[in-house]
Point group: C2
Chain length 213, copies 2
DNA sequence: TTCAATTTGTGACCCCTTTCACAAAGGATG
DNA sequence: CATCCTTTGTGAAAGGGGTCACAAATTGAA
């Protein structure tokens, strides 16, 4: 079962399992069955087992899974056992909210550089929000700083008209993962990964469901 | 073809088509083929036609689709031809970013009320961001105000520990659509719709793809 | 040691979504 | 009006993901 194409949905669910296991671990629970985990994550128990089966055998028949071990294994699979170094580009309303998003830290995602096209304009609002002032650099320095600080993921929170421009800069700087919050589809070359977060698509979805009960 | 269950993926794509058509309309393009639209949205041409076929016949064989008409038809299908009245609960970092999110307005989503558990604390930072000061109400008034202002969608941007509490209040107030930004799965009764926006799930996804090239 | 109870891992089945391929329909041209 | 070209709409086939059901493994008690 180990070596086949992994459904993207499986990866999304693993992320959910990981969050649940985190909570269980903190609650001191030591063993969990696929049925229990499934209930908490609102999925089918066979689904849990099948998702895990893509990557190996983690359970003990008749017993279940050791919470701590399974959590570690899933983090290893997802790649969230390491620290991911991120850059944030566009320190406006959304950008400065993300700068102070505590869950990033908790989950080993760390913003290690912030860029804007007009740093003096934004420096005030950013320092105000956090305990210590944040260094906002000019976008012109992206390439050198990205290499220096070994940045692996770029968060794009510029206006939509600039999103592809910034994406190109990130690609040039060798940043392989891009997460785009602007409402434009961005395109990246082979070997790079871009994901879009479209708020209004989700809203449209909700609106459709409300309109067609 | 008209009356069958509509895949959720189809609805998501319709939202993409709508955005593209918006751009084309503004660019003055009058006619578009399924192949052209497909290329722009990075999907298969047959997929475009099949998605539309769920709802009727909108094209002209040998010609294509009239941009303006198709855009209107899709907006009607999605329910985005009407104005949606929303409440925002939790005016912290993310909440105040959303308050000033211009795309909401452009797409007929309107925040008509803002709530927090401590309005005096947040009023400053909100007024600063927008031209005119925003009225932030105490969460205790949610129920009455929701009815008064005919609120249909609630945006939850409180800490995760409060998300379900707020969700329950919204349900009680008869708000049928919920969009939750806190990293906790919220549960709502039959007849209500809740969607979660998990930033870190998307990041986990990206991290996985970067770890397993 | 044997047997009952529990829970995993997985083959087989089913359903939903996507893609393919082509007939049907409309437009343009002479 | 006839012919050719383009593009839609859709039945059929392919593909992928989810669910079911059961054999295999493990524990614990008789
Ligand atoms: N505000 C929200 O809640 C929200 C929600 C979802 C999506 N978005 C999207 O996120 C993006 C940012 O939204 P916002 O409200 O923060 O806008 P904003 O105007 O407040 O911030 C944009 C920032 O990007 C900077 N910028 C512009 N061009 C740049 C460039 N080439 N390089 C570097 N920095 C540049 C600007 O100086 C500004 O500080 C937009 O695309 C928006 O559609 C915003
Ligand atoms: N900051 C981000 O960029 C970001 C990104 C993604 C998700 N989130 C999530 O969004 C939520 C808000 O994040 P934030 O950074 O804005 O936090 P925050 O602490 O800045 O804001 C939370 C706000 O909610 C208010 N609040 C608390 N309990 C309430 C209640 N019962 N009723 C009404 N209001 C209440 C608080 O007074 C505060 O103003 C969190 O769940 C966070 O995990 C934040």
């Amino acid at each position: 079962m180990k070596y086949s194409k992994i459904p993207e949905a499986t990866i999304r669910r693993l992320s959910r399992y990981s969050r649940c296991l985190e909570e269980m671990e903190q609650a001191g629970e030591e063993v969990v069955s696929s049925a229990q985990l499934a209930t908490r994550c609102m999925v089918n128990a066979a689904q849990v087992r099948k998702d895990l089966a893509y990557f190996g055998e983690f359970g003990i028949r008749g017993v279940g899974y050791y919470v701590k071990d399974l959590h570690n294994d899933i983090k290893k699979i997802l790649g969230s056992n390491k620290e991911w170094r991120m850059a944030l580009i566009g320190i406006g309303n959304l950008g400065s909210a993300l700068l102070s998003y505590k869950d990033f830290l908790k989950q080993n995602y760390k913003i290690v550089a912030a860029f804007d096209i007009d740093p003096p304009k934004v420096i005030g609002r950013v320092s105000e929000k956090l305990g210590k002032p944040v260094e906002v650099l000019h976008i012109n320095h992206l390439k050198e700083v990205a290499r220096e600080r070994r940045i692996e993921i770029g968060l794009i929170t510029t206006p939509p008209s600039e999103a592809q421009v910034v994406a190109n800069l990130l690609v040039e700087a060798g940043v392989r993962g891009l997460l785009n919050f602007a409402p434009t589809q961005i395109v990246v070359p082979e070997g790079f990964m871009a994901k879009d977060v479209f708020f209004t698509t989700i809203l449209d979805n909700l609106a459709y469901l409300l309109s067609n009960p």
